[in-house]
Symmetry: C2
Subunit: 530 residues, 2 copies
């Protein structure tokens, strides 16, 4: 813990200071905007950027991660809270903190239980589909704000202002380097604020964010006894997405410098961050991909950059905040829309479509699930599709009938090598998958199919060079196949069993129970059984 | 469809007739008992044994499957309906049929969508734990009936009667061959019925099943509009268990004769059977392991045996049924308890404990889940544990650093072969698992770990002889590793890529993007990169 601080080198300071300033400039408008997405007062987005970031810096393993508000997590927060309380109400704010507390507790518990492998429940195409669906949902929601509150009765001045902001932001993203582009939202927000003041846009019907209370967040311990249970399921789903989003961000950046990320430490760090957010009276937070990338690009070397950002956020809060009240909502909506449009990356879909159609379909189905059923159901759809694809693939193991090439010792798939000849009375099957509960039935079906075509076969040799593991279900299946094949006068043998698999099989009685043998190579098996 | 009928041979008839009679004798007490477990009038158990069995025979692929009431499915039915209606009420009966209709529709849809791979969601240890948990729950529930209705105020005569029946049944199972033992429940029930009549046990407080209406079931189309939605989730869980139980039974028996089971046809057959049960006004049914084994052992050759059983059940219903009303409930409870005690098989737990501790823990946790949280939650716990174990295992792929044995062309794991020597500047990693979303992070972590220990390495060779598939997530990961390693002056190469994997990689731009090469063998890679 705090390894980076113990080994801090003086030459890292300039990078950390610079990045800390850049990210703070980026975070002030972003935090306020993402609090609005969560249905909360903008100032809570600033609260969510201080303690959580510092707590993450204590425990997390990423050097450049920026933990704080993130737009998809804010959408999930709104989706979780809206059925339970009126947005803007006191209860809604209490529940936001309570949700963050639950999310933090779940993440911390997962970290202590060392279940960091949970990130393996979402495939990359599914994550891409989830992000695309959520981004479209958010953009759609913000279009209303940009149009002055109601898409059916748009307010022209709001649209002009929001549209101008969008164009400026898109141009900045298109033409400026990443670090400069990250300052564009602040510039746009300030410009629109000045325009509002100068031209009195507020009196002409452009909505503004209203009073932003100054001062640091107080300690929040408010919870609603009746809402622990209804908040639990959303908290589990949000914790899962918080972890996935943050890991994806941390790993992408760590890869660039050959740093290592420990998923269990990340869980603990994100858990503390969310508990910190709850104590600040804010809402669920995570590591943000876009902000962390800016932090990295602006030269951050260690989490000190994040601490610098947090200090600057505190300064912003203790400075006079009254002038912020005229900040026009359409400008903030424009920053959100441009940010989420940046999440619509089609490369995964394009690649998956060419490379693996089922992955592409999982992507599209997840996006459709998010848009059609909502962001929470979308997580469930995504997990189901990831796992479903995995089980479906597992249920179709590649199995080859092997034949000898000429008089050599080489045995190859007879479908790929038509010159390969099978050995009379012997069926040699190479199983190209670990044998486990999701594929034993398929392997068995294939064995019976091949045996039915070759009624003369007296010896079945399973070539296991590609089998790295056999689970208990597979072990039972092998025992049962052995007994039943024996009853039909077919003897089961193994060939080329890997060392670790053999070690495990010796812990069972399968090898004693088998009438057949374990051959070192396919060639020896063929020679001795022919 | 009906393939067995088209190719029916005369010599199969004797076996089918005999087995049909034996199973009918077994089914009459069993059907009534399992209807009671479901909280329904005993006669519905007989209704559930006719049309469902015949419909299954039309479509199913097992030659010896006996489809009808099954005790675990009855428990799940009671668990699904009890929160929605008072057992014994008219609504409860309507909902039982409606549940069966939903279960049937789900199964039929799964069959038409060809998702027979769904059985891969439960590992064998988890299925064993589920069965043990359900069996204990059922036995516990029936102990009350055996004690005269209330365990706290037991009725001596009921206990004596039930206890005697239990002893007789246990003795029959212990000392008689399976086919004869299967007739023991009928004998015990008849004997207890005679005893009740002769000694007037009914007047002395022994509960009896009461009037059993005669005649065949009428067509039932009753449903409750308000209950479709609350019944959907239980129907999905029951459909899943119906399929698993039936497949396990069908496959065990098919294995003994080298017959083949088509899981999608099984889904369709079970779907029709449950719809048939709904139309008969009964409750969810499945293929029963114990009854099918008796059918098989009694000589059934084709589904004609099942049709014979169904005809006999019809005869039993049109014959006078008044005398059945004095059948004592403790005797039926005894048949249920002895039947479920037979499901407590500890062999899977024993084997798993020695062979794979995590599978043993999954078994115990599933059993505990069923007992502690109920049978529906138990299914969810079981699926989560099966999938969780799978993802957890996938997240720990076996990866070996390879070294050359002497001056040979053989490369082996340097941990297993201490004489193997690594090639200077070259790191050769053999990946013993398919590369996919659940393990790319683990593979990457291992690569970074090995590179960190060997700062001189300029070439990383991934030896892919055991990799049979790479999904889209794996494809992206390889591309990213390539780019980032290149930035750090390490070139990524592949060796021994399997044919099907190479075919797929050619559909992507990975190979063009790589600076490294694809070597036919590890030896060639080592030679050319050294």
């Amino acid at each position: 813990m705090l390894n980076w601080l113990r080994h801090y080198r003086r030459d890292q300071l300039a990078g950390d200071l610079g990045a800390g300033v850049v990210v703070a400039m980026m975070l002030i408008p972003q935090g306020m905007a993402y609090a609005l997405v969560a249905g909360l007062p903008p100032v809570l987005g600033l609260y969510a950027s201080i303690l959580p970031a510092v707590l993450y810096a204590l425990v997390g393993t990423s050097m450049t991660q920026s933990v704080g508000p993130m737009v998809i997590v804010s959408l999930m927060t709104a989706s979780a809270l809206t059925p339970l309380a009126e947005p803007g109400s006191g209860l809604y704010m209490v529940l936001a903190g309570q949700l963050s507390l639950l999310v933090g507790a779940v993440l911390l518990a997962c970290g202590l239980l060392r279940v960091g492998f949970l990130s393996g429940f979402f495939s990359r195409p599914v994550m891409s589909g989830f992000t695309i669906g959520a981004a479209l949902l958010i953009a759609w929601g913000q279009l209303g704000t940009l149009a002055g509150g109601n898409l059916r009765a748009p307010h022209t001045l709001s649209i002009v202002l929001g549209g101008a902001c969008m164009l400026a932001l898109l141009a900045a993203r298109r033409y400026l380097p990443r670090v400069w582009a990250s300052l564009a939202p602040m510039a746009v927000v300030l410009a629109s604020l000045l325009a509002t003041m100068a031209m009195g846009l507020g009196q002409q019907g452009v909505a503004t964010i209203g009073e932003v209370p100054g001062g640091l967040p107080g300690l929040n311990l408010a919870t609603s006894q009746a809402h622990w249970e209804p908040l639990l399921k959303p908290a589990l789903l949000i914790a899962f997405i918080v972890f996935l989003v943050s890991m994806s961000s941390a790993q992408t950046l760590a890869l660039k410098r050959g740093e290592r990320i420990d998923s269990n430490r990340e869980l603990a760090g994100l858990g503390l961050a969310n508990i910190g957010s709850a104590l600040s009276g804010a809402f669920p937070v995570t590591g943000s991909i876009s902000r962390s990338a800016v932090n990295f690009a602006a030269g951050a070397q260690t989490p000190l950059a994040t601490v610098v950002t947090a200090v600057l956020m505190c300064l912003a809060l203790v400075a006079p905040t009254g002038w912020l009240s005229l900040l026009p909502l359409p400008a903030l909506a424009a920053t959100i829309i441009v940010a989420v449009l940046g999440m619509l990356e089609w490369d995964t879909l394009r690649t998956a479509w060419r490379y693996d159609r089922s992955d592409a379909l999982a992507l599209v189905a997840t996006a459709a699930g998010v848009i059609g059923l909502g962001v929470e159901a979308g997580v469930v759809v995504g997990v189901a599709l990831s796992i479903g694809t995995m089980i479906w693939r597992a249920s179709r193991p590649h199995i080859a009938v092997l034949g000898r090439i000429g008089t050599s010792e080489h045995f190859r798939n007879i479908e790929r090598f038509p010159s390969a000849e099978t050995v009379p009375n012997v069926l040699i099957l190479r199983i190209d998958a670990n044998l486990f509960f999701a594929n034993v039935d398929a392997v068995h079906a294939r064995i019976e199919e091949e045996l039915a075509q070759r009624p003369d076969v007296r010896h079945l040799v399973l070539m296991l060079a590609s089998v790295s593991a056999i689970d208990t279900t597979g072990l039972f299946a092998l025992g049962e196949w052995n007994d039943e094949l024996q009853r039909r006068n077919v003897t089961l043998h193994f060939a080329e069993v890997k060392g670790p698999v053999m070690d495990r099989l010796r812990d069972s009685d399968l090898l004693q129970r088998m009438q057949g043998r374990v051959f070192l190579s396919t060639a020896i098996a063929a020679e001795q059984l022919a």
